[in-house]
């Protein structure tokens, strides 16, 4: 690991130099919201952000992505034969993502990059990307990253982690990818003695976290007991099945596959989908294994807080970014759900049911 100091003029020049070799993405402010966008030449990422409305998960997992192409024109030799669509995998970098979003990509990687089968679309985009994080000194009241296996100065999944020191940025370089980016940008002022600044700032940021959850009992509670717990109707009561929580969540990865045809040429695409939508699981016969709202809400929370925990033994499938808490139109709060699940004792069920 190398530690660099980058003064802010150098930062701007460095990004301009990097832009010749990387496609840059970063948070920009539009209206009153920050969101991740491709940075056209000369545009700087706005690092003075709290957290974006949508996470940058779409950089590796676009909301809609063409996978295959084909022609239905029978006069063509290759009609009805599907081919892999061309996707641009030139080097790119996302500048200024939060540590929670970086960890989220690592959790999602468990799904798309498995020992038996790999999703080439997700993985090639992931491999082409350099992840440059901006440590978070202003956690929101809805952030609970420190109790979700993460933290405002977490480096997991990042090639570079930066912190703001007013006149300068401090940057920790963790990987070859990160080093290559810093070299391209011409950032090379090594300052190993500044390591302590990171430690102090990390402690200060963590001390500002007001929101915590407990997850220590989730792994040991029986899956079927939790599934049958009495609180699910109550949690789901107000849910509109709007899907906002899943679309804004950096760790939700479910998708749909659909064909689209224009004239004689067609594509097969991958689109974000949501377990909150009633047709997500409906069978052709009309039978729907998760027919009710309660079943669907339970699926989302059980997937994040129990199934994932049991399957991967790497903590919960949530990084505590708080997006779903802030954006759910009816205030369904994963922190409350997690408390209920974590403190659930099967005996409670008997009491509750009389």
């Amino acid at each position: 690991m190398t530690l660099l100091t980058i003064d802010k003029d150098h930062w701007t020049q460095g990004l301009a130099a990097a832009a010749d070799h990387y496609r840059l993405f970063g948070p920009v402010k539009e209206k009153d919201q920050h969101q991740f966008k491709a940075l056209e030449k000369g545009r700087l990422p706005d690092l003075d952000l709290v957290n974006t409305r949508l996470s940058p998960k779409d950089l590796v997992f676009p909301q809609s992505e063409i996978m295959l192409t084909y022609s239905l024109d029978e006069s063509r030799e290759d009609h009805h034969i599907m081919k892999e669509a061309h996707t641009d995998h030139a080097p790119r970098a996302v500048v200024g993502m939060r540590p929670c979003d970086a960890r989220a990509i690592q959790l999602v990687k468990l799904n798309f990059d498995t020992p038996d089968v790999k999703d080439p679309y997700w993985l090639k985009a992931y491999e082409a990307t350099t992840f440059i994080g901006m440590a978070c000194d202003t956690p929101l009241s809805t952030c609970f990253c420190t109790s979700a296996g993460c933290g405002p100065y977490n480096a997991e999944g990042l090639d570079i982690l930066m912190m703001d020191r007013g006149e300068t940025y401090l940057a920790k370089i963790f990987t070859e990818k990160g080093k290559a980016f810093a070299d391209t940008a011409g950032w090379n002022q090594a300052t190993p003695e500044a390591a302590e600044a990171f430690v102090a700032a990390k402690e200060a940021a963590e001390a500002k976290m007001v929101s915590t959850i407990s997850t220590d009992n989730l792994a040991d509670t029986d899956l079927l007991d939790l599934h049958g717990a009495p609180f699910w109707d109550d949690i789901a009561f107000a849910c509109l099945n709007c899907g906002t929580c899943t679309f804004t969540c950096p760790t939700c990865w479910c998708f749909d596959i659909q064909d689209e045809v224009q004239g004689k040429s067609g594509v097969r695409m991958k689109n974000w989908d949501s377990c909150m939508f009633p047709i997500f699981t409906v069978h052709t016969t009309g039978h729907n294994p998760r027919d009710t709202k309660t079943q669907r809400v339970r699926q989302r929370f059980m997937h994040k807080l129990k199934y994932f925990v049991d399957k991967y033994q790497t903590g919960i499938m949530c990084v505590g970014c708080g997006r779903c808490v802030r954006q759910c139109p009816v205030n369904i709060d994963i922190r409350r759900v997690c408390e209920l699940m974590n403190s659930f004792k099967p005996a409670d069920a008997c009491v509750a049911q009389g």
């Binding site: 892999e84 790999k118 090639k124």
Partner: protein, 281 residues
């Protein structure tokens, strides 16, 4: 990096109408490119995604058996958008085939055992694959007694009629064919639903006997207690689930039940495993 979403190009070689109401057809596919058939090395009980460019992709159990070479077969019920389109296609048309997908019946475990097969309706497809596999001269001695209870609504709805007649004649497999009802005076097999016929005809369970059950949910529901009564342990009852699928290999998240993904961890599960997952199938 291999692209698991990319189907093999195939051509429809032949179409057989199975059911009298034409709702079921068997499609025989041949691969367009040399080498693809070898790549598509499957085992009985697996499924594949049939892919119609411009219409979509659907998971269908493989009805042919790994011992049959030169083609792959699927029996498809006309149900919705993609299946209706497929039913309207003709021999010679091209489409895509992706797989093989999913686990298979646990052949290592079944080796040397007596096998009871219980099938209803068009879910009989992967059971056909298994029967043909076990009856193959190279494999028959690897299994003990084979009993098959197979039911359909009416005689006209039975699949693979020619093969049923052939199997009837053999003495190394016991066929118990049944229909829910018929007004055919010459009908010489059973009349009645699958569960009661199973109760009458199936061999008792035991350490050496496994039951493989595939059919509509209602049939499975009533067959389970019958098998229990006959002495089949929950880890000797093997079933195949059919949750809604898209990717077919564990990524799209659609087919999850608890922490299992039906496409990847299944579709074949023992009843013991199913008992440990939420009832979401």
């Amino acid at each position: 990096m291999q692209n698991p979403y990319l189907p093999y190009p195939v051509r429809i070689d032949d179409i057989t109408v199975e059911a009298e109401d034409k709702s079921l057809k068997t499609f025989k596919f041949v691969f367009l490119n040399d080498g693809d058939e070898d790549q598509f090395a499957y085992r009985a009980g697996q499924f594949a995604e049939l892919s119609i460019p411009g219409k979509g992709e659907i998971p269908i159990g493989i009805a042919s058996s790994p011992v049959e070479k030169g083609f792959v077969k699927f029996t498809v019920n006309r149900a919705g958008v993609v299946t209706t389109h497929l039913h309207n296609m003709r021999a010679g048309d091209r489409m895509g085939l992706r797989g093989p997908l999913g686990n298979c019946y646990p052949w290592d475990l079944l080796e040397g055992k007596n096998i009871l097969i219980v099938g209803g309706g068009f879910a009989f497809t992967t059971l056909r694959s298994s029967i043909v596999y076990m009856l193959d001269p190279a494999n028959r001695s690897r299994f003990g007694n084979i009993d098959v209870v197979y039911g359909a609504r009416s005689p006209g709805m039975l699949l693979y009629k020619d093969e049923l007649v052939e199997w009837e004649k053999r003495d190394d497999i016991n066929m118990h064919i049944t229909v829910d009802g018929t007004d055919d005076p010459d009908w010489k097999y059973n009349i009645g639903f699958v569960p009661p016929i199973t109760e009458q005809k199936a061999p008792p369970g035991g350490a050496d006997t496994y039951a493989i059950v595939c059919g509509p949910p209602i049939m499975i529901k009533f067959t389970q207690p019958v098998l229990e009564k006959l002495g089949y342990d929950h880890d000797h009852i093997i079933m195949s689930l059919e949750n809604r699928m898209k990717c077919g290999f564990g990524m799209c998240g659609r087919c999850g039940i608890g922490k299992e993904l039906v496409c990847k961890d299944g579709p074949v599960f023992t009843l013991n495993q199913i008992n440990r997952t939420p009832r979401e199938y």
